[in-house]
Amino acid sequence: MTALFDDRERAALAAALDARVPGSADLGAVAYVERLLTALDHDPPHLWAAPGPWAGAGPRWLELGPWERHAWAERVAEWRAVYRRVAAGAPEPADARVVHAHACEAAYGDPAYGGNRDGAGWARIGFPAPLFPPAGAR
């Protein structure tokens, strides 16, 4: 898989994500965004984490139907354009809403998606670890 961003661009993304949710970069927000933008490079796509080992041995990611893949391909293409602009230091005003949403997801969503490293985002707000976590990329 070709890397989407170089180190300089990743630094720009980290700054933008951190500006929305301070500390999100340390929690893995850039990795979260990169995994999201490359989710459809995998089969099944890395978009819906399957239940963890508590549910028995099974796939780590749930399958999407062809139309769901269609919708996500459109969405990811738009977000790639957003992050290209952000990485280039030339975001449009509407891009902030996308970056904010992803910074929140990276800081407080499940670690399966590449953010919230080791659950540190939850730890800093006192949110307990889930009883039935997803598998994903843990």
Binding site: A19, R20, V21, P22, G23, L47, W48, A49, A50, P51, G52, W54, A55, G56, G58, L62, G65, P66, W67, E68, H70, A71, E74, R75, A96, H100, A101, A103, C104, E105, A107, Y108, G109, D110, A112, Y113, G121, W122, R124, I125, G126, F127, P128, P130, L131, F132, P133, P134, A135
Partner: protein
């Protein structure tokens, strides 16, 4: 079974459709169940075990449309009135899940019954200017056996005799109530001090192992999530029974586009659907049904299908009701413990009762009467939803640590009775289309002043209870919001369209075709082997979560359809 050889085709696999499938297959009928969404619930191959697709995952459930519908594929539109133009917004509007199991999958499964008065509101309370309040063509006594049957089918936990205002019951709840959320005990005590009558909520979540499903583990991921262990009374049990009968063919990814009628139009012969497993050109398939077509796609998608097919006349889609929600939020000095538990464990019904206080409020508002709705004592959102609420920047970290809107939050939610108005409706958007080229459904909705007056009565009452319970601050908000929508569009996590997933009306039942879409047996007046078995048929909205009532109605209609005693 072939695609052209079933007794009944059922459109939708939620609590209504799955109940119909369960009843009909038990009576020996063969059915095909068509579900627009994906299957995350039950293995289609024998022995039809429950699938394990759900986890405690806020990202998948709230941000990535795991339960569907994806608004990119199926946008909906909203406006308050024609004065807003063709639409005010495009995107998610009243989105119930589009998945096998439908709205039963995401709900936190509060399953109260309606009360006797709810079926004869016109007789009991009288008319209201600007609304079309009518009695239902059946009463609570007609429905009681079916309430009892679906309570057993879903598995409802509750406390007999706890609610002093409850309707009569022919038997006990199938299982005792589950564990109380600790903060609910605090808010319930405060409510009692205010003269209210809180009780443990009848809930379709196992308090003990039931029907081969485990007891709830109180993981805290309930409202808005599929249950990881199937302790929730979603339609999985009904669907499994139907599938295991060998007479049910469940087809996910099947988008029904039209009801097919025989020459002359008085009988339906089946439906056509797009097979969404095909991409990019999904094939059109047809299911021919020998006896009946049952529409159970919900009060948004069912009228959309009727309108596409030219059924239901001018009344199709009208009298949309959504429950006008009033949230009273208390911010407490310490954690409320809402991360665990079943989202809501206590309710009170006092605002549904004819009391001197409500009579006075009605008089002051120039209305003949007021009814609020059931009031849920419940927890706040998950951390991701909370995070998206706060403004960006340095204050975000402090806000999350302080967590006024999650960890220290407790809320009363009034599921406010929404009076039926002809102008509130679902119709077909004139320009916006779904990805398959069909007109998007459009909601036109504005509350009646009854709803606003009931909300204005409830808010200070509940704010006082919250403060008495120990909240430092209490405030109230409504959905849909009133006032400056531009402000709400920017800051409200609930958005400007009604956030309620309690969608009702749109194909109301009645005793005459001039004033209703379906008969008391839930048959379309114009094509009498087409039945509607979802909350579309509601005549009034009551102020109670609609799922148990729509399932009881579906149980009754299916029982009548296959020749059973009502």
């Amino acid at each position: 079974m072939t695609t052209a050889d079933c007794d009944a085709v059922i459109v939708g696999s939620g609590p209504g459709g799955s109940t119909v499938a369960d009843v009909l297959t038990a009576a020996g009928w063969s059915v095909v169940v068509l579900e627009k969404g994906r299957n995350h619930l039950v293995d289609l191959a024998p022995p039809h075990e429950r699938l394990r697709h759900f986890a405690n995952d806020e990202v998948a459930a709230t941000r990535r449309h795991l339960l569907g519908p994806d608004p990119r594929l199926e946008p909906r539109t909203y406006r308050r009135s024609p004065a807003d133009g063709d639409r005010l917004l495009t995107g998610e509007v009243n989105n119930l899940p589009s998945t096998v199991g439908g709205g039963g999958v995401h709900a936190d499964a509060k399953l109260p019954r309606f009360r006797e008065e709810d079926f004869r509101l016109r007789s009991a309370r009288g008319p209201v200017d600007g609304a079309d309040v009518r009695d239902w063509p059946l009463g609570y006594d007609d429905l009681e056996p079916h309430y009892a049957a679906v309570e057993r089918a879903f598995g409802v936990a509750g406390e007999d005799g706890a609610n002093p205002f409850a309707a009569w019951r022919s038997g006990p709840f199938p299982m005792p109530p589950g564990d109380d959320m600790p903060m609910a005990l605090v808010s319930a005590k405060a409510a009692e001090r205010a003269g209210l009558h809180p009780y443990r909520a009848p809930t379709g979540i196992n308090s003990v192992a039931y029907d081969g499903r485990p007891a709830c583990a109180d993981c805290g991921f309930c409202a808005g999530y599929g249950c990881p262990v199937h302790a929730k009374g979603d339609p999985v049990a009904s669907l499994q029974r139907a599938l295991r009968s060998g007479r049910c063919d469940l087809r996910p990814d099947a988008y029904v586009t039209e009801v097919v009628r025989a020459a002359g139009g008085r009988r339906a012969t089946g439906v056509r659907y797009l097979d969404l497993t095909g991409y990019p050109d999904p094939p059109v398939r047809e299911v021919r049904a020998g006896r009946a077509v049952v529409l159970a796609a919900g009060a948004f998608e069912t009228p959309r299908l009727l309108l596409r097919t030219g059924l239901g006349g001018d009344l199709a889609g009208r009298y949309l009701m959504v429950h006008f929600q009033t949230f009273t939020v208390g911010i407490f000095p310490g954690p409320t413990g809402g991360e665990r538990g079943r989202s809501v464990t206590h309710l009170h019904d006092d605002l549904m009762i004819d009391t001197p206080g409500l009579r006075a409020a009605a008089r002051a508002a120039g209305l003949p009467w007021l009814r609020g709705g059931v009031v849920e004592h419940g927890a706040g959102p998950g951390p991701l939803d909370e995070a998206r609420t706060y403004p960006a920047g340095p204050a975000h970290t402090r806000s999350m640590a302080d967590s006024a809107l999650r960890r220290r939050l407790w809320a009363f939610t009034v599921q406010g009775e929404d009076l039926p108005q002809a102008g509130n409706r679902v119709d077909l958007d004139p320009a916006v289309r779904d990805v398959w080229g069909f007109p998007a459904g459009r909601v036109t909705y504005a509350p009646h002043r009854h709803e606003l007056a009931a909300s204005a009565h409830a808010a200070p009452l509940h704010e006082a209870v919250m403060l008495d319970a120990g909240a430092e601050v209490a405030f109230s908000a409504t959905s849909p919001p009133q006032g400056d929508l531009d402000v709400h569009a920017e800051v409200s996590p609930l958005g400007v369209a009604p956030a309620s997933r309690h969608v009702m009306g749109t194909a109301r039942m009645g005793t005459h075709p001039a004033t209703s879409v379906v008969s008391p047996d839930q048959r379309l007046w114009e094509v009498d082997n087409v039945l509607i078995c979802d909350s579309s048929v509601f005549v009034t909205s009551a102020g109670y979560n609609p799922t148990l009532t729509l399932a009881a109605l579906a149980h009754r209609a299916a029982t009548l359809l296959c020749g059973g005693a009502a």
